[in-house]
């Protein structure tokens, strides 16, 4: 099968990236040679640049390699033509996210600021308006402070009990989680179809799906592949973020009735310890990348797409509002706690609903699956080579 070239593809791709020097590449292969992650069969980033230059769209859809790159930036630093291969891999990841997303929203959000900010603002407004109309602040809420002087957060709303309030929030959480999961899973199935099933050159042996499955879990939990990049500071920051965020997500979705309780328990209780760890992990990462993106000295943080900044801003706002809710509660500031709680949800919900299935955060699913799929492909190729070896010489 031969792929059709397309000279227009480059301009389509421009909106997904910041740097555009990829045409400078003359395929010396320095980037591939210097990359600590490249291996036989996955010769990125040079091959990716070539496929992009030629505009082989169908080939790109089957191309899993950009997800195997963790953007250490060494290729861009080594490139004698300053073609910026690392930023291309980043751009291809954004592009591929839009390819896997069957709703088409991802492409709109990545390529149009109106869609990007508009969708977030609309969801935020819905939350705020919905809260103020249906869950208004109770009159006489000033009294909702317990003996230790902290705000009883579940008892601030007019007309419903604390138990009912937690239930409403919990139902909302689960609804959101299920919608996001459904979108992500369908996108991953789409990715699986494109990467594995539609690539005629690859026939994966059935057993391999099971024997390689452990990689998916292992890479999600440890990001072992990321750790092979030469600069491990960034991996540490990212691991803190990933574990912190996962813990926080589990606390507010699965364990909400145990986490969001009326009493403020002593600091050594598990809820607070986990909460503090998560906050620390997220803050650490946020500070690390914000400084990096402003300084623009580190190659991997030099080029910031609007979606990169939006991600940082949303996460920072969520964290800051979360911390403020906690502080106001501790100090018995009832009204401030109520409004900050709304603000917290008004940032958190659009962040998860938009970022996770359609934008930057989708990589939490695509990356480990890409490692899994790449192993499947490699096993298939090995089997073909093995059969070739067995075939009688003609």
């Amino acid at each position: 099968m031969s792929y059709r070239v397309n000279s227009e593809f480059k301009s389509d791709l421009k909106k997904f990236g910041i740097a555009e020097q990829w045409n400078e590449c003359f395929h010396c292969g320095n980037c591939t040679a210097v990359c600590p992650l490249t291996e036989n069969g996955f010769l990125f980033p040079r091959q990716g640049i070539r496929v992009m230059q030629m505009g082989l769209k169908e080939k790109l859809a089957t191309y899993v390699d950009p997800w195997l790159c963790y953007y250490c930036g060494e290729c861009s630093e080594t490139c004698p033509r300053e073609a910026n291969p690392a930023e291309l891999m980043m751009t291809l990841r954004r592009y591929l996210t839009s390819v896997y997303d069957w709703t088409g929203l991802s492409k709109k959000i990545y390529t149009s600021k109106w869609w990007e900010f508009g969708s977030i603002i609309i969801i935020a407004l819905l939350i705020i308006v919905g809260f103020l109309i249906y869950l208004p602040l109770k009159s006489g809420a000033d009294a909702m402070v317990n003996q230790s002087g902290s705000v009883m957060i579940n008892s601030l709303v007019e007309g419903i009990s604390a138990g009912q309030f937690v239930r409403i929030i919990e139902i909302g959480d689960w609804t959101m989680a299920i919608i996001v999961a459904a979108l992500l899973i369908s996108n991953i199935l789409n990715m699986f179809y494109k990467v594995i099933l539609s690539d005629n050159a690859v026939k994966v042996p059935f057993g391999t799906y099971f024997t390689e499955f452990w990689r998916l879990i292992y890479n999600f939990a440890t990001q072992a592949k990321f750790s092979k990049c030469d600069d491990r500071n960034y991996w540490v920051g990212h691991l803190l973020l990933m574990t912190g965020y996962s813990i926080m997500f589990a606390l507010v979705v699965i364990a909400l009735p145990l986490f969001q309780i009326e009493e403020i328990v002593p600091w050594y209780n598990w809820q607070r310890l986990l909460g503090y760890y998560a906050t620390f992990g997220i803050l650490f990462f946020l500070i690390q990348v914000t400084i990096g993106r402003i300084k623009k000295q580190d190659t991997k943080l030099k080029f910031s797409h609007p979606s990169d900044w939006l991600f940082i801003i949303m996460l920072a706002l969520t964290t800051i509002t979360g911390i403020l809710v906690h502080i106001f509660r501790l100090n018995g500031m009832v009204e401030a706690t109520y409004y900050l709680y709304i603000a917290h949800l008004a940032v958190l919900v659009p962040m998860i609903v938009i970022e996770v299935p359609f934008s930057k955060w989708s990589h939490l699913a695509y990356r480990p699956f890409a490692v899994y799929f790449s192993r499947l492909k490699k096993a298939a190729v090995k089997k073909i080579e093995y059969q070739r070896e067995l075939a009688p010489a003609i």
Binding site: S2, V5, E8, E24, M54
Partner: protein, 584 residues
């Protein structure tokens, strides 16, 4: 013949020779031989003190034969001849033995190398014993010049010579001047107009009184030699005889016949055009398919007929940059059209060309590399759903993918070949043709303008594929060479030529048929062969072919060569015996 008094000089060449050849032993051994009056060795024979040594010995010992054993005669034969002449001796009473390139540089065994060097020296001594005095001669130069080819090269050279006040006959086989450049729209890399360039040249040539242009004319035969050539032109009304002292061949190029490359579909698919056909579209400002539509996709196929063993093994040098020029012109004329280049290597060596390549690369053209060795892109008619006229298939080398390229117009960057008249002109002018069909230069590096025939110069694409600056440089260089020879007015002719002993010539014409330079003619009155000493290069082909021994090469007579061989064998017989012993 006077009794030979021979001086032998062995050069050390610093350590170049002396590290491998025992020069002192040879000097001593040679000194004992008969007729040797002086035998010396010296660090650098070619240096002034070295030459002075020879001169003072000639005067002191009344030497009448000199042998120098040193480097190749190509390097220093003339140096020593001049020294000997300064000492009052005829320069031809000299022989050189090459014991550097042929001995010290190529051997590793000192003893064997010394033996070999000795045998070469003795061979030279044996030969020089039979050398005769030869007298130098000069001929006058006719200041008129003949230039064949009225393209940019021929016209530039013609103007340089004519503007110095000398007559130029400019021969053009077509009915107008301008050549291939007149069929081109813009030039690379600065995108200046080729039309303006060539039109102003044509104007200057037409208005120059010293230039006489002959249209629709071909050269059949040229007689004579440097300084005094002549040719007869058959014009429409009357015959015309031209006399001239020098000539420049500027016959130009011919594009390869694209139909000979069948994968590429020229003639089979309507919208496959050659570069020159596309230039016509550009000149008219009308880039359209045969059906009259604006093309959405244009594919430019590079190296069609070049760098391919099946067609022409060489690079045509201008096509890469011409293709980039098209890329730029298409981009400005049709901003939305996709441009694809199927290339096999990009060569941007000229001034401003690499910059031109980088700039063009940024103007949204896709460069696709094919493997010239086994896969020229193949073209087929597109299907209904392809939304284009032609589909090209190729293996893209850098990505390792089989790809298809949509195209509405395909431009073939056809290779440059020497013009088909080259053989005829080469025969008439007495110059050689290289394996690729172009005129052969005298020396590929040191003298790419001259040919082995004195007074005949080559310039432009008849020598090898070239762009305009290179062709014009060669044209002006050739003109400068000719103006030099006109200003000297006389030319010295080589004396090592063939000579006929009329008494024993059998009039068999053998020598006339074998002479590669057409230097021998037949005297119908005397019924003997006559050698034109100006044209003869002294190659000796005639003297070895002559059945009666009537014709011999001066300075390389049978006697001289046989004695040289005897001298060589005297030592080498001993040497081979010794080598056989070692092998046993």
């Amino acid at each position: 013949m006077k009794e030979p008094k021979i001086g032998v000089y062995i050069c050390w060449c610093g350590t170049n020779i002396s590290h491998m050849v025992d020069v002192k032993a040879i000097t001593e051994e040679i000194g004992d031989m008969p007729n040797i009056k002086v035998s010396r060795n010296y660090k650098y024979m070619c240096s002034d003190p070295g030459q002075d040594l020879i001169i003072s010995d000639i005067k002191k010992h009344k030497l009448n034969r000199i042998v120098v054993a040193a480097c190749s005669p190509r390097i220093h034969e003339l140096t020593f001849r001049k020294a000997i002449e300064n000492a009052g001796l005829n320069p031809y009473l000299f022989e050189m033995a090459n014991i550097r390139e042929q001995v010290s540089w190529v051997h590793t065994d000192i003893e064997a190398a010394t033996e070999k060097a000795k045998s070469l020296v003795i061979a030279a001594i044996s030969k020089v014993t039979h050398h005769e005095e030869l007298e130098r001669r000069t001929v006058d130069i006719n200041p008129a010049t003949l230039i064949i080819g009225g393209g940019i090269t021929g016209m530039t050279a013609a103007l340089d010579i004519a503007e110095s006040g000398f007559k130029v006959y400019l021969i053009e086989r077509d009915n107008k001047l301008g050549g291939v450049v007149s069929k081109v729209d813009l030039t690379f890399p600065y995108m200046s107009s080729a039309q303006q360039l060539i039109k102003s040249l044509i104007n200057k040539v037409s208005n120059n009184k010293n230039i006489e242009v002959f249209f629709n004319t071909k050269i059949k035969e040229i007689n004579g030699y440097v300084g005094n050539f002549e040719t007869k032109l058959k014009l429409q009304k009357k015959a015309r005889e031209l006399k001239f002292g020098n000539m420049i061949l500027a016959t130009g190029l011919k594009p390869t016949d694209p139909e000979s490359i069948h994968e590429i579909g020229y003639g089979r698919l309507p919208d496959v055009v050659t570069a020159l056909e596309f230039e016509q579209m550009l000149i008219k400002g009308n880039i359209k398919t045969k059906a009259g539509k604006e093309p959405n996709n244009i594919l430019i196929v590079h190296c069609v007929g070049s760098r391919n063993e099946k067609y022409n093994p060489y690079c045509s040098r201008t096509c890469c940059m011409t293709a980039l020029k098209y890329s730029n012109q298409i981009r400005s004329a049709l901003p939305k059209t996709s441009i694809y280049h199927a290339y096999s290597d990009m060569r941007a060596f000229g001034k401003g060309c690499e910059e031109f390549y980088s700039q063009t690369g940024r103007k949204n053209a896709v460069f696709l590399m094919y493997d010239q060795k086994n896969d020229i892109p193949t073209l087929r008619r597109a299907g209904k759903n392809d939304r284009c006229n032609i589909i090209a298939h190729m293996y893209e080398k850098l990505s390792g993918e089989d790809i298809e390229i949509p195209a509405d117009i395909v431009i073939l960057m056809i290779s440059m070949e020497a013009h088909e008249n080259v053989k005829q002109v080469a025969h008439a002018a007495g110059v050689s043709i290289c394996s690729n069909g172009f005129f052969m230069e005298k020396h590929p590096k040191l003298d790419p303008i001259a040919t082995t025939t004195d007074g005949v110069y080559i310039a432009g694409t008849c020598q090898s594929p070239k762009d305009i600056p290179d062709s014009v440089s060669q044209a002006r260089a050739a003109a400068a060479r000719i103006l030099t020879s006109i200003s000297v007015g006389k030319v010295e002719i080589e004396l090592t030529t063939a000579v006929v002993n009329e008494d024993i010539c059998g009039a068999c014409h053998t020598c006339i048929n074998v002479c590669p330079y057409s230097a021998i003619s037949f005297d119908e009155e005397k019924k003997v062969s006559v050698v034109n000493e100006v044209i003869c290069k002294g190659c000796g082909t005639c003297s070895s072919a002559c059945p009666t021994g009537a014709i011999s090469a001066r300075h390389f007579t049978d006697k001289q060569i046989l004695s040289q061989i005897e001298g060589l064998l005297a030592v080498s017989n001993k040497l081979s015996e010794k080598l056989e012993m070692e092998e046993v």
